[in-house]
Assembly symmetry: C2
């Protein structure tokens, strides 16, 4: 029920995930609304519906999740908790999803704070930015744990062994940054199970210099939205420039398809959305503006993460330090 | 003497500023090196040189400025302090310039922290981002003052009356963000002399929704470098896509000049660099990678700011609150 283009694009994405990706998807929300949307695809028999009479609106945040125990996102989390679903996908309000996820699925044991990981489409493989917005206020220890969550994700989804972990700050030297990151830098240097390669700066989000970039949710969210805005801006300006002359239009026509491919790759939807890591269950947060393609990609991402056992992999990582303590 | 392409591009930019912009420029640094560079332009008679035997290297930061009282940047600040120059322009290490500027020119009375303002090339006129990196650790009151510094700059340089001031955070609602920005939001709502229009997010750096965006130097620096990196990345990807086919190359050839214009506008150098506001003198920090064009633009910016009396305008703004207090 969540997302700028709900329910039709969401349902279309679910149908695509079922038919083109062979996934099994359950829709949670208003049966009448969802049934009608499914009927448009002759998919009423292919995609089951679980009833949820309420839904969080896009402008509702954390508090609403407490007031709405029967919202579609709450029911979806409940299905995962009961083992009736492997993962949750939503294009609803991020604040609402994070709050509901924490409330209904609870943080994993040993996880200080669940965090949002977003895959930035660098080549040959994505760079994970974590935390992309779940925690505006953090401690240095949390930045180290975010690195563990991101490392587990990168190992599982991209098959990287020993992913390169970097710390987002304002200079490559160890002493650059604020108190939070300077302390985090020290902790990362001595953290077992992490391959810390040092500090990175804003321009490294797209440089591919790191596999996992750890940061607080405030900085991470500002950086991510800045990046998305800048890429969108560059393409929009380019379109204007190109349409200024007939010759250029001709040239543009030749390139249009390739440029569209490129824009798609840099489109936040295309890469499947953000993942809320550290909960007792997999929660994928699709871009609010997601259309069918983005929702289907988010379903694929959710299926891969849960099939790969992301929750238990994170559990082992956050437990590891405690075990090593007990040896003494 | 500072900058990736010093001394030749720096000197070439100074010569350009003198010949094409009618500015009078003094070069500070090694007389032998600068004389030779000037000779390449037959400009030894047009541009005077002030001797400075030392120079901060690009990798030297704040401490070096204390150890090097005779560095070219220190001497340049001294010229301004003595009234022998109206402003300083440097493409050297930002940390070194900020530290030396604070040390030699001192902060203006009433200014809590000097801050770096960068003009982001939105249309029809730029958006000022402040602080872009001078202060990694700030208090909410400082974010309000940064808004005053930026407002004075926007009024003077862009002739905007009542520039729209926005606060950079992670959601448009007042309660979004960390403690620092939530408190700053409250203060901005009741700050005389500022037209506060609310919160903005990362993608608004290029949306033109605000004339002045206030933020701490950590977030601001990460956002600025992320934006620059994303724009550079988009153009680089575009180049690759275009060069993949002969047809596309043909189309690209038609557009090359226009695309170059666009890239120039989005190029951090082209818009003249960053300004360190709040000191007893004007200090322009040109991009470290600046070539002649960027240096010349930085000289123009420095001349306009000092001619417009930016220092006294800021002085009046930061003094104003105190005056109003005295009324009670």
């Amino acid at each position: 029920m969540g997302g700028d283009h709900a329910p039709h694009e969401i349902v279309a994405g679910a149908v695509h995930a079922v038919r083109e990706r062979g996934l099994s998807v359950v829709l949670v929300g208003s049966p009448r609304v969802l049934y009608e949307a499914l009927a448009d695809h002759d998919a009423t028999k292919e995609v089951p519906i679980v009833r949820a009479e309420e839904a969080l609106s896009m402008d509702e945040g954390a508090l609403a999740s407490l007031r709405r125990p029967r919202s579609s996102i709450a029911i979806a989390c409940h299905l995962v908790r009961r083992g009736d679903a492997a993962a949750v996908v939503s294009a609803g309000s991020t604040a609402g999803i994070v709050a509901t996820g924490k409330l209904r699925l609870k943080g994993q044991q040993g996880v200080l704070r669940p965090a949002i990981a977003v895959a930035i489409p660098t080549l040959p493989r994505p760079t994970l930015l974590i935390d992309a917005g779940a925690n505006a206020e953090v401690k240095s220890e949390m930045l180290v744990q975010f690195a563990h969550l991101g490392t587990a994700y990168a190992e599982l989804l991209y098959g990287i062994d020993e992913p390169r972990v970097a710390l987002l700050t304002i200079g490559s030297e160890a002493e650059k940054g604020n108190k939070l990151v300077k302390r985090a830098h020290e902790l990362l240097l001595t953290s077992p199970g992490l391959r810390f390669t040092g500090n990175v700066e804003g321009h490294d989000l797209l440089s591919g210099r790191a596999d996992v970039i750890t940061t607080d949710g405030f900085t991470g969210n500002v950086a991510l939205k800045t990046m998305e805005g800048a890429v969108r801006y560059a393409f929009a300006e380019l379109r204007d420039v190109v349409s200024e002359s007939r010759l250029a239009r001709l040239g543009a026509a030749m390139q249009r398809s390739r440029i569209r491919e490129l824009r798609r790759r840099l489109d936040p939807e295309a890469y499947g959305g953000a993942v809320l890591l550290g909960l007792n269950g997999t929660v994928v947060i699709a871009h609010g503006s997601s259309r069918a393609g983005g929702i289907s990609a988010a379903c694929k991402l959710a299926a891969e993460l849960s099939a790969g056992g992301i929750v238990s992999r994170i559990g082992e990582r956050v437990a590891a330090p405690h075990r090593s303590h007990r040896l003494w």
